[in-house]
Amino acid sequence: MSKFEMYANLGLGHITDFQGFDHMLFLLALCATYQLADWRKWLLAVTLFTIGHSVTLFIAGMGYLEVNANWIEFLIPVTIFIAGLVNLRKPAKNKGGYMRPVLAGVFGLVHGFGFSNYFKMVFAEETSPLAAVGYFTLGIEAGQLLIVLAIFLISWALVQGLRVKQRDWELFVTGGVVALSLFLMSETFPQGIF
């Protein structure tokens, strides 16, 4: 395999792996109020998330900026929680504005910090770490699009096929994601800060 193939595959596996499912929760919360036809908005949001994730993966991995790992582990479910809360606004607001794509970019920045050790293991000694992270990023983007399309397939089957109300589906998904994010927040709450 070429490096491109290898790192792109690695990125794809990284994001579609069930064990890394905090990404999936985030995408569920993000995409619950979009539909396939809103592709310009959700594609922008997903892509900004990918870019944010890769920027901080690189910055933290190269050691330009150190952030306490315990805080990042806690902040990741916080971002998922916020992404869920935003879904309570009127659906039209979520579909229309740029707030969610911007939020997605910011959340991507937070998530990327969680992988600085991964960077040090996998990319740090590459002849061109930037290129390697770039290939990895393309794999991540492809993986996220696969997950998003799977989410839309399920929501389409429920809304069109089983006549579930769109808003019911949105709130059902959001409730589940928010509950899990609260559980993750309690698990990762940094010890000894009070």
Partner: protein
């Protein structure tokens, strides 16, 4: 099935903070010396866990040279190279450990030039089914890469 699903979800949640298991292997062929150099870069905590299970008692790597024989046995059991119609004999050269990462150095000597080489790495699969081992093979200035996991621990590099 639902109970099993919920259980695995809870387990995934409980262990989610360290959800990546990865190692990086770099191999170089030095034609003038007919020698293969192989460096394994591993997360120290995972390696300690694997060695502890292998040895049957707790191992810490703050002084890896002390455990040279054990590291050698574990690595030689879990890494196999084959070229020129036969297995290559790997030898342990040394190890260096930091709190995060451990490097293990291995070599093969008297290796005649080869056209293809078969690599099998099963490192940590016995304790970490999610482990991915990235393998970079450098030969005459060209790098070919692959990644090996439990479902695919072997790769045939064609030069």
């Amino acid at each position: 099935m639902p109970v099993h699903f919920v259980m695995s979800l809870v387990l995934a949640l409980a262990t989610w903070s360290h959800e990546y298991y990865v190692g990086v292997f770099k191999m170089d062929y030095i034609p003038a010396e007919q020698r293969i150099e192989l460096t394994a870069k591993l997360f120290t905590d995972d390696f300690e866990q694997a060695l502890s299970q292998f040895a049957g008692h707790p191992i810490t790597l703050n002084n890896p040279e002390k455990h040279g024989a054990l590291i050698a046995r574990y690595c030689l059991q879990n890494i196999q190279l084959g070229a020129n119609q036969g297995p290559l004999k790997l030898q342990f050269v040394g190890a260096e450990a930091t709190p995060d990462v451990t490097y293990v150095y291995l070599e093969c000597t008297q290796v005649a030039s080869y056209q293809e080489i078969n690599v099998t790495v099963r490192m940590f699969f016995e304790i970490l089914p999610k482990q991915i081992n990235i393998f970079h093979l450098r030969h005459a200035g060209k790098t070919t890469s692959a990644y090996l996991n439990t479902s695919n621990p072997q790769f045939l590099f064609k030069l």
